[in-house]
C-alpha cells in the first residue's frame, strides 16, 4: 500500500495552497446536507412520536363507531368483547353560556365510563375528571369544557353552559384531551357531558349527524386485530367502523409522510444545488492543477494515481462539509417541532436522529465524490508532454467512456434519491428527466452563445466590449461551465418558488366578495321554513339551501361492498367503499360544477335514478357511466345507475357533493338541510346564533370566517417551513455562484495582469470583466428562468391540475439579482488582480 501512502501525502501537501478554495467547495455541500438532515431527522422523530403516542391518540385499545346506534342484535356480542368499556355519543351543536349570552358551535361528547384509558386528560382542577365520571350515573348535570371555549366567553368552572334543553354546571376546564390536536380544539372546541343525559338535551333527532362510539380497554398484550377478526363481517354489515391503535398508527403516519415528502424534495433541491457547486468548483480547480498533474505524470505517476490524489482531497472536504451540514441539520431538526407543534396531533420528541445524521454524512461524501469525479476524470488524460509545452491544447483523444458511466451514475443517483424522498416513481423519473432536459438546454445555450459571439463578432465595437465578448470564446473560457451552473441554480430556485406559489394558491380559499361565511347545519325538514324565515328576518340572504341524506354504498354491479373490500385485485378504494356518503338531490348542476360526461342527474323512465358522480371519484370506485350502484339509505336499499360525471371546484365555498341524486327519490328519506348565508359582522353573527339556539337548539352554525382564520394560521406556518427550507436552497445557490466565479478568477488573472502590463487602465480591466460576467449572468438567469416557468407550467398542468400564472415581478427581480451578483462577484475578484504587482503574477506566483 505504499502507493496509497503516496496518494495520501500528495493529497495533503497539494491541498496546502488551495484550502480556502476547497473550503468554498465544502460550503456548497453544508447547506444541502443540513436541509436534508433537518427534514429527515424531523420526519424520523415524527414517525417515532406517532408510534409511541398512537395509543394515547386513540385513548383506548379499540374504538367502535357508527353513525347510528349500534344494532341491537350485536349488543351481547359487543358487551362480551371486554369489561372495561366506555360509551360516547358525539355531535356538533350550538352551545350557550347563559351568563354572557355567548353562543358558539361546539363538539358535544356525551361520555360515560373510564375513557380515556391512555394518555392524560388534563383538566383544571385535576379532580374534575373524577367528579365528571361519578356525576353521570348519579344523574347530575355537570360538564367539562375546552379551555378555548371558556376563554372565548370569559367563562370559568362553576359557571353554567346550556346544551340543547339542559343546563350543565361546568366542573372543569379541559386543557388537553388525548387524540385532539390544538387545531381541532380551536375549530370545534369540545363540551363533555354525561352520556346518561344526552337524550334529555333533545338534540338527537333522526337525520342529525351523530357519532356513536364505544371505547374498549383490554388486558396488556392483547392482540386486538385478532380479537375482532371474527367480528369483522358482522361489524361491516352493521356499518360499524373499528379503529385500533395499529390502524391509527398507519393512518396518521401516512397523512404526515405527504407533508414531509414535499419538504424532502425541497431539501433535495438544496443538495442538488450543492452538487452543481461541487462539479463547477472542482472542474475549475482541475484546470488549475493541470500543470502539476503533468509533472506528476512525467515523474511516473499513473493516471489513476493522479485522479485519486484529487479525489481524496474532494472526498475529505466533502466529509468535512457533510459533518458540518449534519450538525447544522440536527439543530434545525430540533427547532422544527416548535414551529409546527400547534397542528400536529402528537408531541414530537426532539431526540437527535442518528440515522438521519449518518444518512446525511454518507450522502454528503457520496455526492461530493460522484459530482467531483466528473471533472476529475479528465486528469487521467493530462499528457506529461505539457511539461515541455505549456500551451498544449486539451487532450481530446476521443470521448471518455468513463464519463458516460459517471453521467449514468449521477442520473441514477438523482432518480433513486428522488424516489427515496418521495416514494413515487413517476415523480422521481419526472424530476430526473426534467433536470436532464434543463441541463441539456443550458449546455446548448452556453455553447450557442460561445459560437454566436465568435461567428458574429462585433469588430466595430469599443475595445472594452470586444475584449469582454472575446473572453466568452477564447481558449480557457468558462462560458459553458458558468451558464450551466448558474442557470441550473436559478432554474431550481425559481421552480421551487413558483411551485410553492402554486401549492399555496391551491389551498387558499378566498373569503372576499359575496362568498358565504355562515353555514347552518342539521336543519330538520320540519324546521326548514322557520330557519329560512329567521335568516331573512335578520336581513341575511339565503345563498344556498340544500337537503342532505346520508347513506352507504352496499354493492357495485351486484357485487357487495364487503366482497369488493376483500378482493384486492378489484382495485376499488377501501376508503371509498366504507365511507358514509352525504348526498343531495336536484335535477341540475350548480355554478361550482361542470358536466364532464353523460347527463345531469335525472329519474329514468324505468324509475331507477341516474346519479351524477364527481369525476375523480369514479376512479377510486372503478365505475363508469351505466354501472349499477346499490346504496343503503339508513336501512333501506336503493338501486341507482351512474348517469353522468361532473368536475367540482372544491375550493369554492359551496356545499359540494360527491354524489348528486335526481329529484323525486330521496324526498321521503330521513334527511337534514344545510343553509348558506353571509353575515356582515360579528354582532349579527352573535344575534343569529342566539336566536337559533333558543328556537332551533339542534341546528348548528359553522362560522366559516373562524375556520378560514385557523386555516390561514396553519398555512402561514406551513409556508414558513417551506420558505425556511427554500432559504437553504437560495443560500446554496449563492454559494455556488460565488464559488464558480471565485474559482474562475484564476483563469483570468494572468490575462488581466498582462493587459495591465501592456498599459490597460484599471477602469478598462474592470469594465472588460463587467461585460463578461454580466453577460454570462444575464444569459444564465434568463435561460434558467425560462426553463423554470415551463417546468412550473408542466407541474401545474399535469401534477397539481391548477392553472399556472407566472408572477413576473419576482422572476424579473431574480434575473436582475443574478446578473448583478455575478457581475459584482466577478468584479470583487478582479479587484485583487489590480492591487497586486504584475511582476508577481508574471513570475507564476499566483496562488
Amino acid at each position: 500500500m505504499s502507493n496509497f501512502l503516496f496518494i495520501w501525502r500528495m493529497a495533503w501537501r497539494d491541498s496546502r495552497r488551495s484550502r480556502s478554495r476547497l473550503l468554498l467547495f465544502t460550503s456548497a455541500i453544508v447547506l444541502g446536507i443540513a436541509a436534508l438532515v433537518g427534514i429527515n431527522g424531523f420526519g424520523d422523530n415524527l414517525a417515532r412520536s406517532i408510534d409511541e403516542q398512537a395509543r394515547e391518540l386513540v385513548g383506548a385499545d379499540l374504538v367502535l363507531s357508527a353513525s347510528q346506534p349500534f344494532d341491537s342484535t350485536l349488543q351481547t356480542t359487543l358487551r362480551r368483547l371486554g369489561e372495561r368499556r366506555s360509551q360516547e355519543v358525539a355531535f356538533a351543536s350550538l352551545v350557550q353560556f347563559p351568563k354572557g349570552q355567548g353562543v358558539r358551535l361546539a363538539q358535544v361528547r356525551a361520555l360515560t365510563g373510564g375513557f380515556p384509558y391512555y394518555g392524560e386528560w388534563l383538566t383544571e382542577p385535576g379532580s374534575a375528571v373524577a367528579a365528571f365520571r361519578e356525576a353521570g350515573p348519579a344523574g347530575q348535570r355537570v360538564a367539562l369544557v375546552d379551555d378555548a371555549l371558556l376563554a372565548q366567553f370569559a367563562a370559568r368552572p362553576g359557571d353554567s353552559i346550556k346544551v340543547g334543553e339542559l343546563t350543565f354546571r361546568i366542573v372543569g376546564r379541559v386543557r388537553k384531551t388525548p387524540g385532539q390536536s390544538g387545531f381541532s380544539a380551536s375549530v370545534a372546541p369540545t363540551v363533555f357531558i354525561p352520556r346518561e343525559l344526552v337524550e334529555q338535551t333533545g338534540l338527537l333527532q333522526r337525520g342529525s349527524r351523530v357519532q356513536y362510539r364505544t371505547y374498549y380497554q383490554f388486558a396488556p398484550g392483547t392482540n386486538v386485530d385478532q380479537l375482532i377478526q371474527p367480528l369483522t363481517a358482522r361489524l361491516d354489515q352493521a356499518n360499524i367502523d373499528s379503529d385500533t391503535v395499529a390502524e391509527r398508527k398507519r393512518q396518521t403516519g401516512r397523512s404526515f409522510t405527504n407533508v414531509t415528502r414535499f419538504l424532502n424534495l425541497v431539501a433535495f433541491v438544496a443538495l442538488l444545488l450543492g452538487c452543481v457547486g461541487v462539479a463547477s468548483a472542482v472542474s475549475l480547480y482541475v484546470r488549475e492543477k493541470v500543470a502539476a498533474v503533468a509533472v506528476l505524470r512525467c515523474l511516473g505517476a499513473s493516471g489513476w494515481q493522479a485522479v485519486l490524489i484529487y479525489l481524496l482531497q474532494t472526498a475529505l472536504m466533502g466529509l468535512l462539509g457533510a459533518i458540518l451540514g449534519a450538525a447544522l441539520g440536527t439543530g434545525i431538526q430540533l427547532l422544527l417541532p416548535k414551529v409546527v407543534e400547534g397542528f400536529l396531533p402528537v408531541t414530537v420528541s426532539v431526540a437527535i436522529s442518528w440515522s438521519a445524521v449518518a444518512e446525511g454524512i454518507v450522502t454528503g461524501v457520496f455526492v461530493a465524490v460522484l459530482f467531483a469525479l466528473l471533472p476529475l476524470l479528465s486528469i487521467r488524460r493530462v499528457s506529461p508532454l505539457r511539461t515541455l509545452r505549456a500551451s498544449l491544447e486539451e487532450d481530446t483523444a476521443g470521448p471518455d467512456p468513463l464519463r458516460g458511466v459517471v453521467y449514468g451514475l449521477i442520473l441514477l443517483f438523482i432518480t433513486g434519491f428522488a424516489y427515496l424522498q418521495t416514494r413515487d416513481w413517476k415523480l422521481a423519473l419526472g424530476f430526473a428527466g426534467g433536470l436532464l432536459l434543463t441541463f441539456g438546454v443550458l449546455a446548448g445555450v452556453g455553447e450557442g452563445l460561445r459560437r454566436l459571439v465568435r461567428r458574429y463578432f462585433p469588430s466595430s465595437w469599443s475595445y472594452v466590449w470586444r475584449q469582454g465578448l472575446a473572453n466568452l470564446y477564447r481558449p480557457n473560457n468558462q462560458t459553458l461551465l458558468l451558464t450551466v451552473s448558474i442557470g441550473l441554480g436559478v432554474f431550481l430556485l425559481a421552480t421551487l418558488y413558483l411551485l410553492q406559489g402554486l401549492l399555496l394558491s391551491q389551498v387558499e380559499i378566498s373569503s372576499t366578495g359575496g362568498q358565504p361565511n355562515l353555514v347552518l347545519f342539521d336543519i330538520q325538514s320540519a324546521q326548514r321554513e322557520g330557519v329560512t324565515q329567521l335568516v331573512k328576518r335578520n336581513g341575511l340572504p339565503v345563498l344556498q339551501e340544500v337537503p342532505v341524506v346520508t347513506m352507504r354504498l352496499s354493492a357495485i354491479n351486484g357485487r357487495s361492498a364487503a366482497e369488493l373490500k376483500k378482493d384486492t385485485a378489484s382495485g376499488v378504494s377501501k376508503g371509498a367503499l366504507g365511507r358514509e356518503y352525504r348526498v343531495t338531490y336536484r335535477d341540475s348542476l350548480i355554478s361550482s360544477e361542470t358536466l364532464e360526461a353523460g347527463r345531469p342527474p335525472f329519474l329514468g323512465s324505468d324509475g331507477i335514478p341516474r346519479v351524477s358522480f364527481d369525476d375523480g371519484f369514479t376512479e377510486r370506485l372503478k365505475i363508469k357511466i351505466g354501472d349499477t350502484l346499490t346504496f343503503n339509505v339508513q336501512g333501506a336499499p336503493l338501486v341507482t345507475i351512474v348517469g353522468g360525471t361532473r368536475t367540482v371546484d372544491w375550493s369554492r365555498v359551496q356545499t359540494n357533493f360527491l354524489v348528486v341524486f335526481p329529484n323525486g327519490v330521496l324526498e321521503p328519506a330521513p334527511q337534514f338541510h344545510v343553509l348558506l348565508t353571509r353575515v356582515p359582522d360579528n354582532a349579527t353573527l352573535a344575534a343569529v346564533q342566539r336566536e337559533l339556539v333558543t328556537n332551533f337548539p339542534n341546528v348548528s352554525a359553522i362560522d366559516l370566517g373562524l375556520i378560514l382564520q385557523t386555516l390561514d394560521e396553519i398555512l402561514t406556518k406551513i409556508s414558513f417551513v417551506i420558505r425556511f427550507m427554500a432559504l437553504f436552497s437560495m443560500a446554496t445557490g449563492l454559494l455556488v455562484l460565488v464559488s464558480s466565479v471565485v474559482v474562475s478568477r484564476y483563469q483570468r488573472v494572468r490575462e488581466s495582469v498582462l493587459l495591465r502590463t501592456l498599459g490597460a487602465s484599471r477602469g478598462q480591466i474592470l469594465r472588460i470583466t463587467l461585460v463578461e460576467y454580466a453577460l454570462l449572468g444575464l444569459l444564465a438567469a434568463v435561460a434558467g428562468l425560462g426553463l423554470a416557468v415551463m417546468a412550473a407550467w408542466a407541474l401545474g398542468a399535469f401534477v397539481f391540475e391548477v392553472a399556472f400564472v407566472p408572477q413576473i415581478g419576482p422572476l424579473l427581480l431574480l434575473a436582475i439579482l443574478t446578473t448583478a451578483l455575478t457581475a459584482i462577484i466577478g468584479l470583487l475578484n478582479s479587484r485583487d488582480v489590480l492591487t497586486r504587482p504584475p511582476l508577481e503574477v508574471l513570475r507564476g506566483e499566483v496562488s
Partner: protein
Amino acid sequence: MLKVENLTKSYASGGRDLTVLEAVSFELQAQDTFAIVGPSGSGKTTLLGLCAGLDRASAGSVWLNGIQLDDLSEDQRAAVRNEHVGFIFQNFQLLPSLTALENVLVPLELRGVRGGTRTAQELLERVGLGGRGHHYPTQLSGGEQQRVSLARAFANRPKILFADEPTGNLDADTSATVVELLFELNREAGTTLVLVTHDLELAARTQRIVRIKGGSVVSDTVNQESAEIARLSS
C-alpha cells in the same frame, strides 16, 4: 541504453500534415553524454519528448533500456519513467504547493521507497540547498529552483536523464553553477545524459552532438575532446 529508429512525428494542422521530425535514428550506450542542438523550432523538444516516452511517434520506434516504448500504454510508460528516467526542464516544473524537500521526495514516494527523506535531504545538501528544504518554490530563485529540480531528477537513481534547455531561463553565472552540478552528479551516478540546447558551448561538454534542422539530422559527431575527458575521468 537509448535506441531510436526512423522516428517521425507529424501533426495534422489545417487539413494537411506538418512533419516536424523525419526519420531520425541513433543509438546511445550507457553512460554516454549526448547533446541535441539546432535552431529554435527545429524539432529538438519534440525529439526529446518522444525519446522519454512523453509522446507517441507517428512512425518509427524507441527503445529505452531495452524496453520498446511504442506499444506501451501511457500508464506503463509512466512506470518506465519512474523506474529509469530523470527530467530537467527549462522552466523547472517544481510542484508549487510542495516544499523543496517534498519535491525531491516525489519520485521516491511514488515508488514506495522507505526512508526517502534521508536520501532527499542528502541530495539537497549535494546541490548546496541543505538548509532550504522547507522552502516553497516561490521562495527560491530560478537557479535554486533548478538545483532542486536536479536533486529531484537524481532521486530515483535514473539510468537516463533528459534535460530540455536546462539553462534557458537562467542568467550566465547561475547557468554555470547549474551546469557544473549537472555534469558532476551525472558523472557520479553514471547516468546517460540527453541534453537539448541551442547553447553550443554547453553542447561542447558532451561526448556526442547531434545537429538537427527542420526535423532532420544534419550531422552526428563525436566530440573527441570531451570523450577523451570522460574516458580519463571514469
